[in-house]
Point group: C2
Chain length 442, copies 2
């Protein structure tokens, strides 16, 4: 018996559209990836006449906008991650499979994962993006990026271990290297990481060490372009830069990293000696374009039709960071949660319409709901088109928005309490060095 048989799935509700015998079984929709795009597509199909399989290589949906807080010891992993199964538990037409996709056979309409296949009638690809090291894959081990929980605990371990080693280091120049942190990339993640490490070193850790003065740490944010946060208006980029500098972060604009090694980074002829490098620069779409042999841009994003289907394959949708979607002025939409969510909802609507014989929705159009980034304690910027916020008001909006968008009542309460506690005490609650003892990193 084919163990991918759907007999284990409860019978779906009867199809609304009267059809021929072949249409008697509701179509099988496979969604690959349960990030913002895939999960919103899945929940959008909760009451549609389809059978739904959600495949992810991890068992949790991650609220990625707060991942930098896990990396900087402000939150625990479980505060911002929710099991995909729990989220979809009540959705009776849906099953969840944990597994890593290795290929897609578009001719036979099947997804391949570790040696076996899952057939589909329609496919949604929402596999997200990963770090791009611009052809220097060897930098990945030296300069970890921030995409999932394991990345975040690795970065947290690296940062906290650097201070521990500095405390115990007799050599002045080595101590300085250990207390220097280079963050590569001035987008939202880079800005948020730089601000959070500055606060961690200058406030939260300040009283805990005896041999070193953690407030003397150097935090250097390196951006190749002319300004931080290029997706924001220029005035807010300037606000972000000024706020970071007030926190003690050195902002280096117009400098591309030409080398990463165990002793630091090079910006052309200049060298910054440091033991911790954090990568927040390039992203590159998942290998989906290779699975599909599809046309894609330099960052690996797949070119899609205006209804988010793959050209020539109306049964395959590509959404989120994996797709290159343009706005009305022809500019690519940014790789952010709200784009992915809206695309996921759109695709769910399109699939549900097909299943019930209704006409397809009009071409996808992104509705810009605003853009937020935080710089540090009590400081954030927000861009809502005509309305631009900064400082404490921006931060308040940022905090409320992020708690509101978190999935699950429990996460909301836990994050709110952690933030309140940090705000009042200036401390960070999740300062754990896990996965081995300090010796292992030496």
């Amino acid at each position: 018996m084919d163990h991918m048989s759907t007999q284990t799935l409860p019978d779906p509700s009867p199809q609304q559209a009267a059809g021929d015998a072949a249409a008697a079984a509701p179509p099988h929709i496979v969604i690959i990836g349960a990030g913002f795009g895939g999960l919103w597509a899945a929940t959008g199909l909760a009451s549609a006449s389809v059978r739904l399989t959600v495949i992810d290589e991890r068992n949790y949906h991650l609220f990625q906008p707060l991942l930098y807080q896990v990396a900087t010891a402000g939150l625990s992993p479980a505060d911002i991650a929710e099991p995909i199964r729990s989220i979809l538990a009540r959705q009776k037409n849906t099953r969840v499979l944990l597994g890593r996709v290795t290929a897609i056979d578009t001719a036979r309409r099947a997804v391949l994962l570790h040696g076996r296949e899952v057939p589909y009638d329609q496919l949604v690809i929402a596999t997200g993006a990963r770090h791009a090291y611009f052809g220097h894959e060897e930098w990945a081990a030296l300069a970890p990026g921030l995409k999932n929980i394991d990345d975040a605990t690795r970065v947290r371990r690296k940062i906290l271990t650097a201070f521990e080693r500095a405390e115990d280091e007799p050599d002045e120049s080595e101590r300085r290297k250990l207390m220097t942190f280079a963050i590569v990339g001035g987008g939202a993640t880079g800005v948020e990481m730089a601000g959070a490490i500055a606060e961690l070193s200058k406030v939260a850790l300040a009283k805990d060490f005896r041999a070193i003065d953690t407030t003397m740490s150097r935090i250097i944010l390196i951006e190749a372009g002319p300004r931080l946060l290029p997706s924001f208006p220029e005035s807010l980029s300037a606000v972000a830069k000024a706020s970071l500098e007030k926190l003690g972060v050195e902002v280096r604009l117009g400098h591309a990293v030409t080398q990463c090694d165990a002793d630091g980074v090079a910006l052309g002829a200049e060298r910054i000696a440091c033991r911790t490098i954090i990568w927040a620069a390039g992203v590159e779409a998942s290998p989906a374009s290779q699975w599909l042999a599809a046309a894609h841009d330099k960052a690996g994003r797949i070119l899609v039709e205006r209804d988010l289907t793959l050209p020539g394959h109306p049964e395959i949708f590509v959404i989120g960071d994996t797709a290159l979607v343009r706005d009305s002025k022809g500019r690519p939409l940014p790789g952010i949660a709200s784009v992915a969510k809206q695309e996921g909802k759109y695709v769910a609507k399109a699939i549900a319409a097909r299943a019930s014989g209704r006409p397809a929705p009009r071409a996808f159009r992104y509705r810009d709901l605003g853009n937020l980034a935080t710089i540090g304690r009590g400081h954030a910027i927000a861009d809502f088109g005509r309305v631009r916020l900064k400082g404490r008001l921006g931060w308040l909006v940022w905090s409320v928005a992020h708690i509101y968008f978190l999935i699950g009542f429990r996460s909301r309460i836990l994050v709110a309490i952690n933030w309140l506690w940090s705000y009042v005490t200036f401390q960070r609650g999740a300062r754990l060095i896990t996965a081995g003892t300090v010796d292992r990193d030496r």
Copy 2:
């Protein structure tokens, strides 16, 4: 310059006892291990005229009594772990070193850690215990135990991954193996793990899977002795057994595990086929007895004088799970938090008395404050000598006591909220499979 120089330590308060020139510098006390014993010794010396160095191989103090809840996805690691540095930050006579001790040179009075040394005037050894596999060290990889955060996240990953693999497993007998959990050892950890896995499988996960019925999981608790929880009165052991059986746990008393392998465990001629084995049986003291070439019992616990010093070495104290201390009737004290804490406090008093020239305190005497163990949702047993509690009242006492004994306001609030949430929703909040994707465990 010797980089272990104490020049980086702030000057201690002047000694109260007038002494000769040699006594001008306060004595240097080194504590190895920041568990309950070491930490209570350290905080007990907060205002003593000593210089204090606390060495641990991990950066956090762990509230071990709740570690099983991390392993069963009820709590996050940071909820029950606190950086040692933070706890001791205000204690100006104290510094914290992260490092692994490799040897002790008692002649030269120095602790050796990765190639360098820390000299001491008086030494407190509080290095705890680790798992004992009764000469079968090869079982360690198959049957992980539960001593630190990394152990707990490993066990959590093993349990959650077993269900994920079962959901996706066509073979009926393999599925049964994946859904069978053997817990070896009927002490407090074994009982608590068995109860928690039963609840996880029969309640929290019940609605999340489609292909498997998690309520059909088998949880088998194996104890070589004649009853569970041998440190409790027999009547409460019987209550615990009955409660576990009501939760669906199979309790096997008087059965010793004779073999562990990838296919399960053997109890003599009988085999239990399972893919998850959790070790909660033997403990063995840390290798401190080898460092000191000291007399010890079979479990590696060092024989100490009635003032907790090492025979022939009044400058070395051994406490907690590393020491064999007997009560007034000659029975060894159990390896529990309250014993370690009282020993830590006693040692601090003895050291402070020496530093100020006061007479030494009388021989150490353990004051039994009671014994608690929980079986599952709304059920625990408590033994306060004449007063014995069980059921919901026992559980209430257990819950309040554990929140009370947690270190830090933040942990108390977070644990209380997690518990309240779990109690109301029957869910478990920290169901993350981290450290790699599911494929890695295959």
